[in-house]
Amino acid sequence: MISDSITNASASAAPSARDMGKKKRTNRAAKLKQSKLGLRREQWLSQVAMINKGDKEETGPNRKTGIEKVVHRDLPVEKLDGQPGEEEAHHHESFIESLSNSPNSILTGINSIPNFCSGSSSGSGGSCSGNITEDEDAADDGCLDDWEAFADALAADEQKKHDKENPPEEQSASLRDSVSGSNVAVRDVKPMSRKQKSNQAWRADDKLRPQGLPNLGKQRSFPVMNLHFSSVAVPSSCPICYEDLDLTDSNFLPCPCGFRLCLFCHKTICDGDGRCPGCRKPYEKNTVKVETSVQNGGLTIRLARSSSMFCRS
């Protein structure tokens, strides 16, 4: 199912992005934020035009996908919470409000009626992963009040998730602005428009795809780690013994001054006076501890990386 594929993609993207280092993300995200905001306005405008034109034709197919989606959405909630009534009541409430508020959201409201019925009656096929993403989405949706908040939430989000999730949210935002004035209505519209997005999301070769939209493939080949390395130039060989640095060594940053060396030389130095060759300051004890645990344990790379995180902070 479509929602499943989205879930998987974002789930697999999450850990790798986390590994890249949260701190670096802030810098990069600040730059991306600016450019993306501009892009998004562009997309948004074009989307509004498109939606206004194509709204009526799309309702047909959307109804189907919408049903699938909401089935997924509601099942896990029931299973985990054990109190489906609350969630449903909320949906109904907002549905009623949206009915009264905007003419266009009636469409989505109608869609959601069969959804609730089928959702509560059919008890099979609810997936845990689906539930997780939906919960995240719900959390995201709650705080998107304006463009600034929207951008901030995005900045905090993972890179790849951006590309997956942004277009629909723009759509919903555009829907909100063009169609209804109330926030409550937006809530109801959102799941609907997310589904639309899965129909409309730009492929790499899509003609409608804005030119300036960042290419996902490019971003994958340009991980944040590389950015960091280019700024602190990692030597290919240990400056002490001239042996090549392996993966563990090149992730090993024992001193805040940024001087890198291989683990063997670091060990030798720690057996001696224990001062960093780069700045001649004594190595910090925490770092040494990390290093020994690297040698004893199996989690070599992760520990080395965490030590480098520690040093940078």
């Binding site: 002490i240 013994c241 001239y242 042996e243 063997f264 030798t268 001696g272 060759p277 001649r280």
Partner: protein, 183 residues
């Protein structure tokens, strides 16, 4: 040995004279340390020195012993050491670069940072040594004390005192020593 401070009696003024007596000690180094990490490091430093030597300096193994080098520094112009060719012995410990090389002037020089045995009072060759330093940097540091002696970290306080109190006299003696021993 030659490298320990205070062995003033063994200091020989003519470079050619001391090499013969030294080779015996040098050969005993080889057996212990020829196959080690320090060997690779020294070889790399040698290659880098050949490609990009520091100005007015040269250095290389004395014979087939990688751990025993001879270096020369030409006295920088504008100093009383101008035009002199100063020979230095460099002996690498087996745990180089974690320990500094032992550098000794083989040419007599009138300098407050070089004692009568040719030992240098240069911090980077003692407590401030860092494994990240190379022979190139050591040579540059030695060349720096030619240009600017450090009288507050002297090897021979007598010369340091003269340097501080009567610079002209100091320059005169240093020039004379350069003429006598380094040309």
């Amino acid at each position: 040995m030659m490298t320990t401070p205070g062995g003033s009696g063994r200091f020989k003024p003519l470079p050619t004279a001391m090499y013969a007596g030294y080779s015996g000690t040098a050969s005993s180094w080889v057996a212990k340390t020829s196959v080690s990490a320090s060997g690779k490091r020294i070889q790399r430093e040698m290659a880098e020195l050949n490609v990009d030597p520091p100005p007015e300096c040269s250095a290389g193994p004395k014979g087939d012993n990688l751990y025993h080098w001879i270096a020369t520094i030409i006295g920088p112009s504008g100093t009383p050491y101008e035009g002199g060719i100063f020979f230095l012995d460099m002996i690498f410990p087996s745990d180089y670069p974690f320990k500094p090389p032992k550098v000794v002037f083989k040419t007599r020089i009138y300098h407050c940072n070089v004692d009568t045995a040719g030992n240098l009072s240069v911090e980077i060759l003692r407590d401030s040594w860092s494994p990240a330093l190379t022979i190139t940097k050591v040579l540059q540091a030695i060349r720096t004390i030619f240009l600017k002696p450090e009288p507050f970290n002297p090897a021979l306080p007598v010369i340091a005192r003269l340097y501080l109190s009567d610079r002209e006299k100091h320059e005169e003696v240093a020039k004379e020593w350069t003429l006598r021993f380094a040309k």
